[in-house]
Symmetry: C2
Subunit: 417 residues, 2 copies
């Protein structure tokens, strides 16, 4: 399988790009190679690395708009959890398909998922494989839920291990320090180390978590995790809002990855992510949308705008979190966190790319491409998407999209009634 | 001229709508009337009032992405003002056309403009007329600029008065209390009263304005304006961030309209709009995008999401500024402020309407339409737009859009070089 993209605009000029298998084979001017598929940018489309969503709960797309504007406790206990309790495997499958479709249509090539994949994460993996995206699928641990105990997770992992493909890998996802015991967190970090898995955890999303941890252990959450040897470059810590200066220093020293989810943090009133301090401490800041129930979309373009604007008003400084820095958070930094060889356009890298037609209103008059992408465009600006060398969207059309939207609507209707 | 829209979804069921001239003539089931144009919603499109942008600087669309992430003083003095000084009337014309095109493509039917229309606001009016939108065009006063003095503005007004059309009217727009003297503000409010014009003013966008005012007059800005009899239901006060409780009370008593511009306030780090307090005081809260140099788009759908999410995180309360309230701010409240008979779908109202195809990813699975529109969709979800009874966009196509984008790019290139 090969793709030749002609007359495309790079950051340093126009040229062609040849994709061989799942990799970027060659970038040059006037490439005349035979290819299975061809795209002509006509000098009017720009090529960029696809965006990387480092924290989401894909199947929750079925819950988009189901409950909003509620106090956190009511939202979770009276609306979200009761509905989730009704989800079956088919629902999870269609929810994940809907999420993948949305990501493809808004320029995301790779995502870091955490959800109840029940005893069969294969359901989610099937959905992702069919849609063609790259993903890290978390095996979620949650002490009080049967499917989330270490025994079930261990068994599940030994069953699915053999099903690894290069584009979809598993991570271990202990939900949080309040939903997983100290003993089980230690088990998780050892298990992750032994099997070379990433760890994906919610960290200090709400103030109560930090306070309760201190009360129980006389340590703040990061100190608590650090003491048990949990923290390293394979840790992906979602939200990471309520952090002391000491905790931020530790996260930098341990080379952790934090996932900034501004829309969710604002919508749920969780708190202000300490962008400036984390950046200064050298922590790898990535971007995530969180689930569609708390965002309510998976559009990483919109997320970039929120990500850049929120620290400016918080720090009373319009120079904070400039567009170029946020664009890196959504590409390069995400690739680093997920240990995927993507996020940049270079020969030899995996071919996870997006094309954007420059003749669009959000890109006019065109003073600065990155500024326009971060501050002016939504994910709808993406015209074509290639993931792992395959064209998943061409001129905004994705195979089977009508059916996915129809099925999801039907299932959501049943669930809500 | 008449338009018949068949099989369209309203908030209370499906039906047809007949537009006669520039008004909504009839809403009923199974309407079989002859019409010049026909749209079939096929039971898959929803109809809504078009959005109303209550504060923008249309021609600044030519400056989108020209300068970002800079301290306010540098941004204005080193980048924006020098570029604006180079603008000629043709630039203003194409900038306004580009802005109108963007608004049409993102569901805005009416806007409240404030810009240097030079001695000839007819240029901007021409652009708006050609594009077909409804607007209030401000005659900007700015003591230190020749075109902004009361003498020039008065002359201009007496010339353009006769050119009023129902869909485009003039307002008087003294820039701000720091750019226009006390004496000239008093002249402005008298002139506005005499000619029944709306007043459009920047108010307390930055803290310094409030502090300087207090130093000079021993009054805060709202107290200062109130004392001179400036404040009433015809005042549209853009930004309105740095307000004391006493000032908020006065704005409520005087039935003023304030324009909340969350993206601009965040991007320029201006401060947090006191949404909750203003709402409680009964002030009419409208929404605006501000200019494309400080947003950087005119997408009112995106603005609604920012408008709803920012007060939630500020007040630490996810129930603040719910979706339905913000949708009203972007429709009904805007219509009230601009004294236009739009913002609702009722027989007899002016026909300023948008259609949205429900088979879109941002609206799936479809639990709650208003939530999906505010939290999940961007302005790209709008498929058709009707303003003043005329179809300006059909299936996302607007007449002449390619040419406008091309011309704007050419002019921006010249200006920046």
């Amino acid at each position: 399988m090969s793709v030749l993209i002609k007359n495309i605009i790079f950051d340093n000029g126009e040229g062609d790009i040849f994709i061989e298998g799942n990799k970027i084979g060659k970038i040059a001017k006037n490439l005349n190679l035979k290819a299975d598929e061809k795209i002509d940018g006509k000098g009017e489309k720009v090529i960029l690395p696809g965006l990387i969503n480092c924290h989401c709960h894909s199947a929750m797309n079925l819950l988009r708009g189901y409950a909003d504007d509620l106090p956190l406790k009511n939202w979770l206990e009276k609306k979200i959890w009761p509905l989730e309790a009704k989800l079956n495997e088919e629902d999870v499958y269609w929810g994940a398909k809907l999420a993948c479709l949305e990501m493809i249509k808004t320029g995301t090539v790779c995502f870091n998922d955490m959800y109840w994949h029940f005893k069969h994460p294969e359901v989610t993996v099937s959905a992702i494989k069919e849609m063609g995206l790259r993903a890290v699928v978390g095996l979620t641990m949650f002490d009080s839920v049967a499917e989330g105990t270490k025994e079930v997770v261990e068994k599940t992992y030994s069953r699915v291990e053999s099903k690894y493909v290069q584009s979809i890998v598993f991570s271990l996802a202990p939900h949080s320090i309040y939903a997983v015991s100290r003993e089980n967190l230690i088990w998780a970090k050892d298990f992750a180390k032994k099997n070379n898995l990433l760890l994906h955890v919610h960290l200090s999303e709400i103030e109560k978590e930090a306070k309760d941890c201190f009360k129980k252990y006389n340590l703040r959450p990061v100190e608590f995790l650090n003491k048990m040897g949990f923290l390293n470059k394979n840790c992906i810590l979602a939200h990471s809002i309520w952090l002391s200066d000491k905790e931020i220093k530790i996260l930098g020293e341990r080379k952790c990855n934090v996932v900034y989810c501004p829309c969710s943090n604002m919508k749920l009133a969780s708190g202000f992510f300490p962008y400036k301090k984390l950046k200064k401490a050298g922590v790898n800041i990535c971007l995530g949308t969180d689930g569609a129930a708390s965002n309510n979309n998976l559009d990483m373009f919109e997320e970039m705008k929120f990500a850049s604007l929120l620290p400016k008003i918080k720090e009373k400084d319009p120079t904070t979190a400039p567009a170029s820095e946020i664009f890196e958070a959504a590409t390069k930094n995400g690739a680093g966190a997920l240990k995927m060889d993507i996020g940049e356009i270079k020969e030899g890298k995996l071919a996870d790319l997006i094309l954007i037609d420059l003749n669009q209103i959000c890109l006019a008059p065109g003073h600065n491409l990155i500024s326009d992408l971060v501050y002016s465009c939504s994910g709808n600006c993406v015209t074509d998407l290639i993931c792992n060398g395959k064209i998943l969207m061409r001129d905004r059309k994705v195979k089977g999209e009508e059916k996915i939207i129809r099925e999801a609507a039907k299932r959501a209707d049943n669930l809500a009634s």
